[in-house]
């Protein structure tokens, strides 16, 4: 069997990271193809229950990425995202979700190369962790809906 390829879902904001990933494209910088980007207006919009949903849909790892701390297009959405993540992380621990499988980063619209590097290193990271079978099993019981 070929090497394990983790399935990665990326939740990104429209203004910084989505645009940054566009720049990766315009600059023709290659990165691994096992990532699916979902566009949000702002990381502040990201409802963390969506992350559990993504794991339930088969993701092995998640990247959440938005604007750098003071660059939020909406000034403070990313702060709220960060604050809520602190709370959610504890919930994850409680629910038995492996928080190593959720990677946060800041990628600005100018950081095309950084986006490629983030995806690649996340890929390596998640490869080490292996398939998230525990959760896939867990989720079949549909505890989150």
């Amino acid at each position: 069997m070929s090497e394990f390829e983790p399935k990665i879902v990326a939740f990104v904001c429209n203004w910084c990271t989505y645009a940054g990933a566009d720049l990766t494209g315009t600059s023709r910088i290659k990165y691994s193809s096992n990532v699916r980007i979902i566009r949000f207006p702002c990381t502040g919009r990201i409802d963390y229950m969506l992350l559990t949903k993504a794991f339930a849909s088969g993701a092995d790892g998640i990247i959440v990425s938005g604007c750098h701390p003071n660059d939020c297009h909406y000034t403070s959405g990313n702060f709220h995202a960060r604050r809520r993540w602190m709370v959610f992380r504890r919930l994850c621990d409680f629910m038995g979700i492996d928080t190593r499988r959720i990677i946060f980063s800041w990628v600005s619209a100018a950081e095309g190369a950084k986006w490629a590097q983030i995806v690649n290193s996340a890929n390596e990271e998640f490869k080490k962790l292996g398939p998230y079978e525990n959760y896939h099993k867990l989720s079949t019981q549909e505890i989150f809906e």
Partner: protein, 666 residues
């Protein structure tokens, strides 16, 4: 039932060289709800767009997914094409097969799989898109300018000259702000009053401008295009319609020993006064805290001498309510006073003054008629020390920023001093000379080279008085940090520029944000420097951060431009991608529980409280209400709402969950 059309673009070879476009189109055709799926060389070309339009009509499509480049590039193009074909433009989505796929991956099966996934995700999303209509808001074409310094004056005149109405509200009895107190101005040394006074008069005379002085903002409600403002016009004790500005009252008032604010305490004024001779309007006010009549019930001499019968002791504050479409904040700044400095004696020594006091001493209309004289004994100082960065760049004192204007005005002061006291010597303790501006460095060089200002690089540790001299103890860091002691006759502190008193309160009334130093915050430091985060409210001048006159004026014209743009249509059109709170039938009205978590996170104060009352007027329920004029569509509220009562158009919960769900078998 959804009828979705999928259009896969080759982008010449940009996509098709890496992604097997026809295969993707074929697979997409099998997705539930997809009734039409094709691939084409250039979707954005005219024939490409026609292809989409025709398919919409032919297949009666309810949604379209163009799988091509980044939506940041062509989303508007395809939405317009859909609209032309009769489909609601918000029923069109784009899958990013170029920037996020073909350009970043190798040609192989996995890349094709990814392309298919991306299309599937957007198909699932678009099935759940709502048809939306752009939001239209009416605009009241009157601008409110708060603060009548040089920034406010410039903004008001520009807006008025563009043909719009302006209401200007100034807290003091006269407009003019700090610039009216300055002697001459860097970097050209032109007389401040000579250039400002004509502009002040223009404000008073412009038929489009209504000026309220001695007035403050009481409250502001509404949103962009539709604010309602209450102005408190404080009682001047003068009937402005009768007063002809003869000034007799002020000369006859026997109560003359009150500290003169305009001269920063270096002169006296009567209880009834005009702040300075060129004041606009040239109408006196009675200082109720000082006037003998208000204090003891006796005097009224002003009333007796006034031939116009303009004195009105029983005048009350007046509240005026006006509708405005836009607001310009131009409330300026202030500077720290000498008593802020423990190591310089807490303002104990009269001859340690601040920069503004020096401006008054140097001003021909000032208390010494332009001669530089010590406040303590009126002597001409032969040795004068200027201390730059006094209080600025001093985190220990709570001010870490550079006040930006003081390097320049200190150089100016040294020049003016030398012009007035030829045999005098000026020393300047400084850390860096910050003179970045057109002709600015040339100006500070002139102070050094032509007017012999002696710059010493180091901070002053202590100033104390001994035998009528001020001993200034500093270091010269260019000489190995040696201690330098100067016996000075006078010391001028270039104190930090700080936010104007009351800025915080005003910010709260206006619901705009301010920084930790209480300066108003711009919406974006680079790209929206004169906007606030609240649509329709702008800022200019030194209320944002210390600024000099050219910058204040430039920002003010910027604001005027922004407001004129806003006023160029009678209606505002905005993208409908905003938050909404769900509404259901009574008795529930909404699933919103009224926790107002959403309100606390909204960066734009767009969330209001809506009260639902029964027929008897009793409160039944409080729930969140999104002001469509203010919401910018960030979605933060959606993520925090525990009862999922808020949703955001374009990124609804249903849409986002479906996108994630579509990954199920990837």
């Amino acid at each position: 039932m959804a009828r979705i059309g999928v259009f896969i673009c080759h982008c010449g070879e940009n996509i098709s060289a890496t992604v097997d476009c026809s295969k993707v189109a074929q697979v997409a055709a099998t997705f539930p709800g997809v009734v039409h799926s094709v691939d084409y060389k250039y979707m954005c070309s005219d024939p490409g767009q026609t292809l989409v339009g025709n398919a919409i009509k032919e297949h009666n499509l309810t949604g379209v997914v163009v799988s091509a480049c980044s939506p940041r590039m062509h989303e508007p193009t395809f939405r317009r094409a859909c609209a032309e074909a009769g489909l609601n433009p918000y029923q069109c989505e784009m899958a990013n097969l170029r920037e996020h796929c073909s350009w970043v991956h190798e040609r192989n099966e996995k890349t094709d799989d990814k392309a298919i996934d991306l299309v599937r995700m957007l198909v699932e999303k678009v099935k759940r898109n709502n048809s939306l209509q752009p939001i239209k808001v009416p605009v009241t074409k009157t601008a409110l300018v708060i603060g009548g310094g040089v920034a406010g004056i410039q903004a008001a005149l520009d807006i008025a000259n563009a043909g719009h109405k302006v209401i200007m509200v100034e807290r003091e009895p006269s407009i003019g702000g700090h610039m009216s107190q300055l002697s001459e101005t860097f970097p050209t040394l032109d007389c401040s009053q000579c250039i400002l006074t004509p502009r002040m008069v223009e404000v008073a005379q412009n038929p489009n401008i209504k000026l309220y002085t001695y007035a403050e903002i009481e409250s502001v409600e509404g949103f962009v295009g539709n604010f309602t403002v209450k102005i408190r016009k404080k009682a001047k004790s003068i009937d402005e319609s009768k007063c002809n500005g003869c000034g007799l009252c002020t000369t006859k008032c026997p109560n003359k020993k009150n500290p003169n604010e305009f001269e920063l305490g270096m002169a006296k004024r009567p209880a009834i006064y005009v702040p300075f001779p060129q004041a606009v309007p040239n109408i006196p006010v009675i200082d109720k805290t000082q006037c003998t009549y208000y204090k003891t019930g006796k005097c009224k001499i002003c009333e007796k001498v006034c031939q116009a019968n303009a004195i009105q002791f029983d005048q009350q504050d007046e509240i005026i309510e006006v509708p405005v479409g836009a607001i310009a904040i131009c409330t300026g700044f202030d500077i720290k006073k000498a008593d802020f400095f423990p190591e310089y004696g807490y303002g104990k020594h009269k001859d340690i003054i601040d920069g503004l006091q020096f401006e008054r001493l140097a001003s021909a209309s000032g208390p010494t008629a332009g001669e530089i004289r010590r406040p303590s004994d009126g002597q001409i100082p032969k040795k004068i020390v200027f201390v730059a960065c006094a209080g600025s760049r001093d985190p220990a004192k709570g001010i870490e920023y550079c006040s930006k204007i003081c390097c320049m005005y200190t150089a100016k002061h040294a020049i003016l001093y030398k012009h007035k006291v030829h045999d005098g010597t000026a020393y300047i303790f400084y850390m860096d000379i910050r003179a970045a501006g057109k002709n600015y460095d040339e100006f500070t060089r002139r102070a050094i080279e032509e007017d012999d200002a002696k710059y010493i690089r180091g901070r002053v540790s202590k100033i104390y008085e001994r035998d009528g001299k001020l001993i200034v103890v500093g270091a010269d860091t260019l000489m190995g940090a040696q201690t330098v002691e100067i016996e000075a006759d006078m010391v001028v502190l270039a104190t930090a520029g700080v936010a104007n008193q009351g800025a915080e309160k005003l910010a709260q009334i206006l619901h705009v944000s301010y920084d930790q130093h209480k300066f108003f915050s711009e919406a974006h430091p680079k790209l929206k420097p004169v906007e606030t985060n609240t649509a329709g409210i702008y800022l200019a001048g030194a209320c944002q951060s210390p600024k000099d006159i050219p910058e204040s004026v430039a920002a003010a014209s910027g604001v005027a431009g922004k407001i004129s743009c806003l006023f160029s249509n009678s209606e505002l059109t905005r993208e409908p991608l905003i938050a909404v709170v769900d509404r259901t039938a009574p008795p529930q009205y909404s699933s919103c529980t009224g926790c107002f978590m959403c309100q606390s996170v909204c960066p734009y104060n767009a969330i209001e409280r809506e009260e639902i009352n029964d027929r008897n007027g009793n409160l039944v329920k409080q729930l969140a209400f999104i002001n469509p004029g203010l919401c910018q569509g960030c979605g933060t509220c959606v993520a925090v709402c525990k009862s999922k009562s808020i949703d955001i158009e374009g990124y609804t919960n249903l849409q986002m969950y479906s996108e994630v769900d579509a990954l199920l078998n990837f």
